[in-house]
Symmetry: C2
Subunit: 245 residues, 2 copies
DNA sequence: CGCCCATTTGAGTTTAATCAAAAAACGTGG
DNA sequence: CCACGTTTTTTGATTAAACTCAAATGGGCG
């Protein structure tokens, strides 16, 4: 069930039962990927839109000399770019962090959905625009924040995204990302990530142990990160569009 | 005339005369902005899609403490996010580098165009996906490239984008970006940008003087930048979609 | 138990930042 | 066309943040 996606979209607009059923109808072809494997590789032809049902993954790009940058994380409820099939070749890869379950949605199915459900269509645009906003924020993060701010910002973002999909438990959430992956996402080295995490732990900003993250005082972490959640555009933004329900 | 936009879109798909006329019809409400002023400010309500007709601009985000990051450049032929009006508030600002002339396209006009011209619609998706790919590449750039590679990469990208819109003259193009702006785009300081540009000049990679950039040997600059143009998805990618012309 | 992967720590180095000031280029009005 | 104020570029000296290299420790699992 795409309950995570529905939870998330409802932060933007209210969905009817028919809308939700339509979203559920997207889940026809389900595939599983093992942790550590590639879900899509650079150069491949994108054939469908991927909807993440369970597990974590990341988009990444890599240079011939081995330098790697993670440019996005995927958590359950996330959707890859709506119109990928317009492009001939993937310019990046997607790798699974944990075992991943995802639905492969064929273009025709998606187009049909958008023809029949304008409210879902708007919600999916919102999702697309938020993805773009997240990517811009990462650009800022890498360009202008210190190591500690950068890591804190990433943790805030992931926690809030997970919360929006119903995947947090109080002030805790699963967190299967290794320090090497955190380094590749923040543009740091794993050594420096390690030292910075220690600093965050000793100052009580986070508890991170055994693939579980706890943020005792989210406001404090946000402050340390100079985190402004406006770019996630949550808080029922689409209310003004609900009129024509 | 949106000739620059048309030139660019034709790198993706062939457009009919009707398609081109439809694009020209987007230019109804034209506005001018002075250099150094904001075209849109953070927090504002996005009312229309902006199509850049002349002049350079940038998207930027700023922290309360003054740290600023430029997250994208706009050159003639560029279009802001197709569906911005789905969002309630801008999460960033757009500033004019030079005097800017742009067309403000109302949502209804755009929706109408996309209803009537499926080939233009696909081309606009392509444009949107390329924008997202560029943002990802910037993330990589800031995270994993050295100062010299970063600057070289940015220059390669801008030169190739300008060339695709017909705004280069041989191996030269206008380049009105100051070193402070280059610093804010690459996550460096203006001092370090200055030293790095000097290095690029003395090694013959670029000639940059009086708002004019010359790249004597683009392949060499690309090599220095570890630049792979695949993320720009030029080269008539949409050929396979031309069938139903 | 032993292996593998992830995390942690230490010591020394490098890249880029900071601070400060001079020089050059640019635009404008006299 | 020149003088003048402003912005941009350039250079120097010093500092700090993050990287590199190397090795030890810890955890999970068959």
């Amino acid at each position: 069930m795409p309950q995570h996606l529905i939870n998330k979209l409802e932060h933007f607009t209210r969905l009817s039962e028919a809308d939700k059923d339509a979203l559920k109808g997207l889940i026809r072809r389900v595939r599983l990927f093992e942790a550590g494997t590639d879900i899509i590789r650079e150069g491949e032809r994108p054939e469908h839109v991927n909807l993440f049902l369970a597990g974590w993954a990341y988009r990444y790009k890599q240079l011939e000399d081995g330098r790697r940058q993670i440019v996005a994380f995927f958590v359950p409820g996330d959707l890859c770019d709506l119109h990928v099939f317009v492009l001939r070749e993937m310019d990046h890869a997607i790798g699974a962090i944990t075992p991943v379950r995802l639905a492969q949605v064929p273009r025709e199915m998606l187009i049909g959905l958008m023809d029949r459900h304008p409210r879902v269509t708007r919600a999916l645009w919102w999702e697309t625009l938020v993805d773009a906003a997240i990517q811009r924020e990462w650009t800022f993060n890498l360009g202008r924040r210190t190591a500690l701010e950068r890591l804190a910002h990433l943790l805030c973002e992931l926690f809030i995204r997970l919360r929006a999909t119903g995947l947090t438990d109080g002030d805790s959430c699963a967190f299967p990302v290794t320090q090497v992956e955190l380094a590749d996402a923040t543009g740091l080295t794993n050594v420096h990530v390690n030292r910075t995490l220690r600093e965050m732990r000793t100052s009580g900003l986070i508890v991170l142990k055994g693939r579980q993250l706890t943020i005792p005082h989210l406001a404090a972490l946000q402050k340390a990160a100079l985190f402004n959640p406006n770019y996630l555009h949550l808080d029922h933004e689409g209310a003004h569009l609900n009129a024509n329900a």
